[in-house]
C-alpha cells in the first residue's frame, strides 16, 4: 500500500484481539490535515478500541499507523504523544486527589528547573485552556470535587494541552449540554484552522453532522464504509451502522392520574433546594436543565443514595426515609446512574451478577442463588436490549461503554422496578440501541411504571416526556405540560435570571 501524501493520519489493516476474541478485523482509516473525521458504529463496534490502539493504551496485533506519511510504532502512550496524537477518553481517566491543573498536565508537567513542577505556570496554562471551555472550573480544586460534566471538560482540556496534530475524541460530549457542545465546536474550529485533525466519536448524530466532513463506519470490528458526511443523508449512515433502517417513532403517552411518587421540599445544600415533584403511574417525567443545575443530585436524593438535609419522598403513599438505596429499591425504585464506572458497574463480575445484584431475593431459593434462573433471565433481558457480544458470563468491565449501560438498565428490569430514575439514559448508547431504549421506556410506561428521565439532550427529553420539569441552580424553575414542551421553553427556564 502506498502512503498518501495528503493524509495526516493513515491506519491500514489494524487488528486487535483480547485473548480469543478478535475485536478489530483489519480496520483502515484516513484523515486529511484539518479534517474532522467521524468514527461511527454501534456499541461494541470497536471505536474506542481503535482509538486506544492509536494512543498506545492498548497494543495492536497487526496493521500500520502512518502520521504525515511516515510509519510510526505506537506501543505506549508516550509513543503516541511523541507522534503528536492526543486523546479524549470515553471513560474519564483522572486522579481524584490531584488538582484540575495537575490532571491536565499529568505525565507532561511543566517544570521549573529540571526537578520541580511549576504549579503556578501549570495553573495559568490550565486556566488559559479552560477559558474557552468552561471558565468556572477552579484549576486548583481536586478532581474529586468536580461534577461529571466538569470532569469531562477537564478530560477535553487534557487533550488540548499538548500541541497535538491529531486529537482523537471518544464521545467527548456524552455528559455535556448543547451549550458546552457549542464551546467545543468553537475550539475544534480554531484547531482545524491550524491544521489539526480530529477523530470524532459520538452517538449524537446531530453533532456528527455539525462537525464532520467525512466519517468511517465500523460494524463488529470491521470497516464498513467511508462516507462524506454532508452529502450522505442520516438514514443512510444509520443503515451502514446498524445494518437496517430505523423507524422514526413519535411520542406516545400512557400517563394516568394515579400518583406513584411524591417528592416534597427535598433539599441538600445548595445543589438541590426545595424540590417538589409528583410522578404518576405510566408517566414519563423529563427533567431538563443546564450542567450543574442539580438534576443528578435530585435523582440521587430520591434514590436514597445521598442524604437530604430535609424533605420527604413518598412512594405509593408510604414515606421512605434515610439515605438507604436498598429501602427505596424494595419500595420499587431504581436508579440508572450517570457515572457508570463509579456508581454503576462491578467490573470484575459477570453481567449476570451485575444484573442480579439489587434483586437477589428474586433469584434465591432456600438461601442459595438460582444461578440457572439468573442466567436465563439475564439472557432474555440482554437479548431484548441487544447486548454485544451476547455473552452474559463475561465480566461487565470487558464490554463497551454502551453495552455496560444496557446491562445496568437490565438490572432494574430484572428487579421488577416500578419507578425508574434514568440519569442520562442514553449516554454513550448508539443510535440503534437508543431507539431500543426509547421503546423500552415507552413499554415500561405502558405497563404502568413511573419514569423520571434526566437528560442533557433536549431532543431526547422532548421525544420521551409527557411532562418536563426544568431545573436551574438547584431549584425547579419551571414545569411544562405536554403542549408547552419545546426547546425554547426549556431554555427559558433553564437559564438563570439576570
Amino acid at each position: 500500500m502506498t502512503s498518501d501524501p495528503l493524509a495526516r493520519l493513515h491506519l491500514t489493516g489494524v487488528t486487535k484481539s483480547y485473548g480469543p476474541i478478535q475485536v478489530l478485523h483489519g480496520v483502515s482509516l484516513r484523515i486529511a490535515p484539518g479534517e474532522v473525521h467521524g468514527l461511527l458504529g454501534e456499541n461494541g463496534a470497536g471505536k474506542s478500541t481503535l482509538l486506544n490502539v492509536l494512543c498506545g493504551v492498548v497494543t495492536h496485533d497487526g496493521g500500520v499507523i502512518e502520521v504525515d506519511g511516515a510509519p510510526v510504532q505506537i506501543t505506549r502512550p508516550k509513543d503516541a504523544a511523541a507522534a503528536g496524537i492526543a486523546m479524549i477518553h470515553q471513560e474519564l481517566q483522572q486522579v481524584p486527589e490531584l488538582t484540575v491543573a495537575q490532571n491536565i498536565f499529568l505525565g507532561a508537567s511543566l517544570r521549573r528547573g529540571a526537578l520541580f513542577v511549576d504549579h503556578r505556570e501549570q495553573e495559568r496554562a490550565a486556566r488559559r485552556i479552560l477559558a474557552a471551555l468552561d471558565p468556572d472550573i477552579d484549576v486548583t480544586a481536586p478532581i474529586r470535587d468536580l461534577r461529571v460534566a466538569q470532569r469531562q471538560i477537564v478530560e477535553i482540556a487534557k487533550a488540548l494541552r499538548s500541541k497535538a496534530r491529531v486529537i482523537a475524541m471518544d464521545e467527548p460530549t456524552s455528559s455535556l449540554t448543547p451549550k458546552e457542545f457549542e464551546r467545543l465546536v468553537e475550539v475544534i474550529r480554531v484547531l482545524t484552522a491550524q491544521g489539526v485533525s480530529v477523530i470524532y466519536v459520538s452517538h449524537k448524530m446531530d453533532e456528527v453532522y455539525r462537525l464532520c466532513q467525512n466519517a468511517t463506519i465500523l460494524r463488529d470490528g470491521r470497516f464498513v464504509t467511508r462516507v462524506a458526511i454532508p452529502e450522505t443523508p442520516l438514514p443512510r449512515v444509520i443503515e451502514h451502522m446498524v445494518g437496517r433502517e430505523l423507524a422514526h417513532a413519535h411520542h406516545r403517552s400512557f400517563a394516568t392520574d394515579r400518583v406513584m411518587m411524591e417528592v416534597r421540599d427535598l433539599t441538600r445544600g445548595r445543589a438541590v433546594q426545595g424540590a417538589d415533584l409528583t410522578l404518576h403511574k405510566g408517566e414519563v417525567l423529563g427533567i431538563a436543565g443546564l450542567v450543574g443545575s442539580g438534576r443528578t443530585e435530585l435523582l440521587r436524593l430520591i434514590a436514597g443514595v445521598d442524604a437530604p438535609d430535609r424533605g420527604s419522598v413518598t412512594i405509593e403513599g408510604t414515606a421512605v426515609s434515610g439515605a438507604n438505596p436498598r429501602a427505596r429499591i424494595r419500595a420499587g425504585l431504581g436508579l440508572v446512574p450517570e457515572e457508570r464506572k463509579r456508581d454503576g458497574i462491578i467490573r470484575h463480575r459477570p453481567v449476570t451478577a451485575n444484573i442480579g445484584l439489587p434483586a437477589m431475593d428474586k433469584f434465591t431459593r432456600a438461601g442459595l442463588i438460582r444461578k440457572g434462573l439468573l442466567h436465563k433471565r439475564s439472557q432474555a433481558l440482554m437479548r431484548e436490549v441487544n447486548l454485544r457480544p451476547f455473552d452474559v458470563t463475561r465480566p461487565i468491565g470487558s464490554f463497551s461503554g454502551g453495552n455496560q449501560q444496557k446491562a445496568i438498565i437490565g438490572r432494574w428490569l430484572a428487579a421488577g422496578t416500578r419507578i425508574y430514575l434514568f440519569d442520562e439514559p442514553t449516554r454513550g448508547i448508539d443510535v440503534g440501541a437508543k431507539a431500543e431504549i426509547y421503546d423500552l421506556i415507552e413499554k415500561l410506561a405502558s405497563e404502568g411504571c413511573g419514569i423520571l428521565v434526566v437528560s442533557s439532550e433536549l431532543p431526547e427529553v422532548i421525544r420521551l416526556s409527557d411532562r418536563v420539569l426544568v431545573m436551574c441552580e438547584g431549584r425547579i424553575s419551571g414545569s411544562l405540560s405536554a403542549d408547552q414542551i419545546s426547546e425554547a421553553n426549556i431554555a427559558r427556564h433553564a437559564i438563570p435570571a439576570g
Binding site: 446512574p337 456508581d343 467490573r347 445484584l357 437477589m360
Partner: protein
C-alpha cells in the same frame, strides 16, 4: 446448547485460576519428595493437612474479608481472647458445648466491633484491625494475667484429637467449614454482595447491596472462624495461652494471596486459599523434615512465598 457453550468460559476460567496455585503446590511437593523420602508418605500428608488446618480456618475468614475489600490483622488476638475465655469457662465447669458457643460468640463479637468501626465509622480496615491487634491481645493478657489456662476437659480435647476415616478431627472440621465458606461465596447472595462491595463499594450501594451488613458479616465470620481455629488449637495443645495466635494474620493473608485473592478487593477463591494453606504447611513440614537450620528456614520461607506468587502469576495469565 447455547447455554452450555456460553457458561463454559466462566467455569474453565475459574478452574484455570486455581490451577495456577495447584501447579505451585505440585512443584513444591515434587522438590520435597526428592529431598526427603518421608515427605510423600500417607501419614506425613495427613500430618501436613492437620498442620495446615488452623491456618486454613483463619484464612477462610480472611479470604472473605479480603474479597470484601478489607483486611483483618486482628485474627490472632481474637483467637487468643476467645480461647482463653472459652477455656476459663470449661475449667470453671461450664458444659463444653456452652463454653464452645461462648468462645465463638466472643470471636464474633470482636469481629462485630471491627466491622462496626469499619462499616459505620468509615475507618480503614487495616488500621482498625491493627488497633484490634493490640486491643484484643491486651484483653486476653489482662484477663488471664498472662498465664496459660490448663486442665481442659477430656471430652473437649477428644474432638480435636479424634480421627474419622483416617482423617484428624481438625481436618474434617475445617473441610466442612471450607465447604460452607465456598457455598457462601459462590452460591449465596452474601457471596455476591462480598464481591460487589469489594469490587466497587459505591456502585454496590447504588445497586441496593446492604454494604454495611455485608462488611459486618465478613468481619464477624472472620472473628468466628478465628475463635474456631483457636478452639481446635487449644483442643490439641490442652492449654489456652493469652499469647497464642501470634502472626496468624500474616500466614492467613499469605495463603489467601497465594490462592489468588486480590488485596484490592473483589476477587478471591476458597479453593485457591485452601491450596495456599497447604503450600505453606507443606513448606514448613518439608523444611522440618530436612532439618534445615533456622536461618535457612526463614530464607526458604521468604523465597518460596515469592516464587509461589510468580508461578501462580505465570500460569494463571494476567
Amino acid at each position: 446448547m447455547s447455554k452450555a457453550l456460553t457458561s463454559l468460559p466462566l467455569i474453565s476460567r475459574i478452574r484455570f485460576r486455581d490451577a495456577g496455585t495447584l501447579v505451585g503446590l505440585i512443584l513444591i511437593a515434587i522438590v520435597f519428595s526428592f529431598l526427603s523420602p518421608s515427605f510423600l508418605t500417607l501419614p506425613n500428608l495427613v500430618n501436613i493437612l492437620q498442620q495446615s488446618s488452623i491456618n486454613a480456618c483463619i484464612a477462610l475468614g480472611m479470604t472473605l474479608v479480603i474479597i470484601s475489600g478489607g483486611i483483618d490483622l486482628s485474627v490472632g488476638p481474637v483467637a487468643a481472647l476467645s480461647a482463653t475465655l472459652g477455656a476459663a469457662m470449661m475449667v470453671a465447669g461450664v458444659p463444653v458445648p456452652l463454653a464452645v458457643l461462648g468462645a465463638i460468640a466472643t470471636g464474633v463479637a470482636c469481629g462485630f466491633f471491627n466491622g462496626a468501626l469499619i462499616a459505620w465509622g468509615g475507618l480503614q480496615p487495616f488500621i482498625v484491625t491493627l488497633g484490634g491487634l493490640s486491643l484484643y491481645r491486651a484483653l486476653a493478657l489482662i484477663y488471664t494475667g498472662g498465664t496459660p489456662i490448663f486442665g481442659l476437659p477430656g471430652e473437649f480435647r477428644a474432638i480435636a484429637n479424634g480421627t474419622l476415616l483416617g482423617l484428624p478431627g481438625p481436618v474434617i472440621a475445617v473441610g466442612v467449614l471450607a465447604f460452607v465458606a465456598w457455598v457462601i461465596l459462590t452460591k449465596t447472595p452474601l457471596g455476591e454482595y462480598l464481591m460487589a462491595v469489594g469490587g466497587n463499594p459505591e456502585a454496590a450501594r447504588v445497586a441496593g447491596v446492604p454494604v454495611t451488613l455485608t462488611k459486618l458479616s465478613a468481619y464477624m465470620i472472620s472473628g468466628g472462624l478465628a475463635s474456631i481455629a483457636s478452639l481446635i488449637l487449644i483442643g490439641r495443645l490442652g492449654a489456652a495461652e493469652p499469647t497464642l495466635g501470634n502472626l496468624w494474620e500474616l500466614d492467613a493473608i499469605a495463603a489467601s494471596a497465594i490462592g489468588g485473592a486480590s488485596l484490592m478487593g473483589g476477587r478471591g477463591s476458597i479453593v485457591g486459599t485452601l491450596i495456599g494453606c497447604v503450600i505453606l504447611g507443606a513448606l514448613r513440614n518439608g523444611l522440618t523434615l530436612l532439618n534445615v537450620q533456622a536461618f535457612y528456614q526463614l530464607l526458604a520461607t521468604g523465597i518460596i512465598i515469592i516464587v509461589a506468587m510468580l508461578i501462580d502469576r505465570a500460569t494463571s495469565g494476567k
